[in-house]
Amino acid sequence: MKLLERYAPVAGEDVIGPLQQLGEHLRGRKVVHVNSTRVGGGVAEILAKLVPLKRELGIDATWEVIEGDQDFYKTTKSMHNALQGSSAFISTEQLRTYESTNERNAGALRDKLEDADFVFIHDPQPAPLLRMIPKRRGKWVWRCHIDVSRPDRHVWKYLRGFVSDYDASIFSLAAFSQELPHTQYVIPPSIDPLSDKNVPLSDDEIDETCSEFGLDRERDTIVQVSRFDRFKDPVGVIAAYRLAKKFSPGLQLVLAGGGATDDPEGEVVLEETRAAAGGDTDIHILVLPPDAHRRINALQRTANVVLQKSTREGFGLTVAEGMWKGKPVIGGDVGGIRLQIVNHHTGFLVATPEGAALRIRYLLHHPDVLENMGEKARLLVRNNFLLTRHLREYLTVMASLLHGAGDRMELF
């Protein structure tokens, strides 16, 4: 069975035809996606499926990853934090490293990038590439996955110098868009229902994962799956757990995080999280390898409630992942989490650890509400946040860029 056909039973029979028809208009076009990591993080997960699906539609899509050293990733991590509103100092030397790393990668990728009909550059790490490919012939799109609604102005001004030359940009929410001299599309990301992280699992497999990590499936469990990053507020999650545990003494907390090769700050935040947990044996801090998708899937499925208590968030795909598994999600009232959680219907939006604790208590003591919210959550994801919708919007942007201006375009 073709990859696309496998999505029909989960996403709906009626979503496949439009993808094929739209894809026909882009058949044979060369598309290159460029990001900074092959494994770890939501971007890599999306590209791992989006690219093969585009190929199946007849589009000549490829995925390239730029390479850099630790200094480069430290710089881009600082840049990432600054763009999400955190203060960060980036020295002139670091900026030189950033640009020279991109120069080297531009040299390696030049032929492919010059020849492409479309180039999608993901996030700030490879943003300077456009300037370094003067003989480009295709449309270049900067795809920003992070929350840049309140960026550090100095860092944004620097990055804007590279981004403003693009033909278009894509943001996950309208609130993230910036003053730029080109069209800014709004496309929320998605989850892949057929990936190891989201496929249905047997009870045995879930049991096995729980045993591996010393979790008791008979007891209530709350789970947050996220990188160890201050914006994900793992310490705040521990505070919420402690407040809720007073009313649910058997409560267990899982904080599971994978490492990404472009995130050198993770170790520091992990230590802070361990310190906050103290000796509580019901707090399970799990550092999982980037390929632990099925175990993450099992952990989310074993949860009564999934948390994503971010204080800044580009989109927060773990929210959609939890909802897809029929779990209500308690999330920070920020960024893309607001788009996914329909407050009081598919979960709760909260501003503080106290707010999170209040909602955890409520859901654990109202299992009927918990179940009902979980069902609604799954339906919401099915209709709005699956990869098939995401692919369709990419195709729409490409068609739109190919065929010019106007607010209505007919492709026949």
Binding site: E13, D14, V15, G17, P18, Q20, Q21, L22, E24, H25, R27, F171, A174, A175, S177, Q178, E179, T183, Q184, Y185, V186, I187, L339, Q340, V342, H345, T346, K376, L379, L380, N383, N384, F385, R392, E393, L395, T396, V397, A399, S400, H403, G404, A405, G406, D407, R408, M409, E410, L411, F412
Partner: protein, 260 residues
């Protein structure tokens, strides 16, 4: 109902692209200039569409700003905030049928204004300029009555988005009205959006494409059916519900004997 070979129909040399601006869609006097999706006597060609959302960079934090932005904002933005919501994540039945009304309720907590904005029926206006004027008038009435309009936080400001709608052939052709109920039941939600909702501002009579086709085939025979279709309100509820309702009406009138 037939499904054409996509490669023959779409990938061949006949492929063409038309870019149409909304302000070109109607001639003076409100008549449609072009844009019939099929010839009146021909088969019904099922189309599909995808809506690209585009950030405009415009926003409003209070009613006065909302009115000022509404005066200048692109027509495609008014289109998006009235119709685009039907293609966006929703869960329960929406209380209000456009984003301006929703924002008035959810953020400004002005229920009276939300109700007045929500009762505006976009199909009452010949074009989007008329709809724009109606919106501004309601907001100005409210501003006249209010001494200090409330402010929204930056996080909750109204963000103007505009749409670019890309329309493409689904490859499905309906030649006999009896095939229409099944075709609708198998349509994508966005096809339903295009033929049942978008059509209202695109067709000369301001009605859905199914009614236009059936009326052109035999107006008398399909009069009652078209009246029932006109009674389906697409602005409340989800596209899935609209699809079910349209399909049920078509089945009742056109396919009593068909095994569906």
């Amino acid at each position: 109902m037939t499904r054409r070979q996509a490669a023959v129909r779409i990938g061949g040399p006949r492929r063409s692209v038309r870019c149409l601006f909304t302000h070109q869609a109607r001639e003076p006097g409100g008549n449609i200039e072009k844009k019939q999706p099929y010839s009146p006597a021909g088969p019904f060609e099922v189309r599909d569409c995808a809506l690209a959302a585009i950030a405009t960079g415009r926003s409003a934090q209070n009613l006065k700003e909302l009115r000022d932005e509404l005066r200048d904002v692109d027509e495609a933005s008014i289109y998006f905030h009235f119709w685009g919501g039907l293609l966006r994540p929703t869960f329960d039945d929406p209380s209000y049928n456009n984003d301006f009304a929703r924002w008035s309720h959810d953020v400004l907590h002005n229920n009276a204004l939300a109700e007045r904005l929500s009762v505006i029926d976009p199909t009452d206006y010949a074009d989007l300029e008329g709809l724009r004027s109606a919106l501004i008038e309601v907001i100005e009435d409210e501003l006249d009555e209010s001494d200090s309009p409330p402010w929204a936080s930056r996080e909750n400001r109204f963000l103007f988005i505009r749409s670019r709608i890309v329309i493409f052939d689904s490859g499905i052709v309906v030649t006999d009205p009896k095939e229409l109920p099944r075709a609708v039941s198998e349509m994508s939600q966005s096809s339903v959006f295009y033929h049942f909702i978008d059509a209202r501002r695109r067709t000369p009579r301001g009605v859905d494409d199914f009614s236009t086709w059936l009326t052109d085939l035999d107006a008398d025979a399909h009069l009652e059916l078209c009246t029932e279709l006109a009674g389906i309100d697409p602005y409340y509820g989800t596209l899935d519900e609209t699809k079910r309702n349209v399909s049920a009406v078509l089945r009742r009138f056109l396919a009593e004997d068909a095994a569906l």
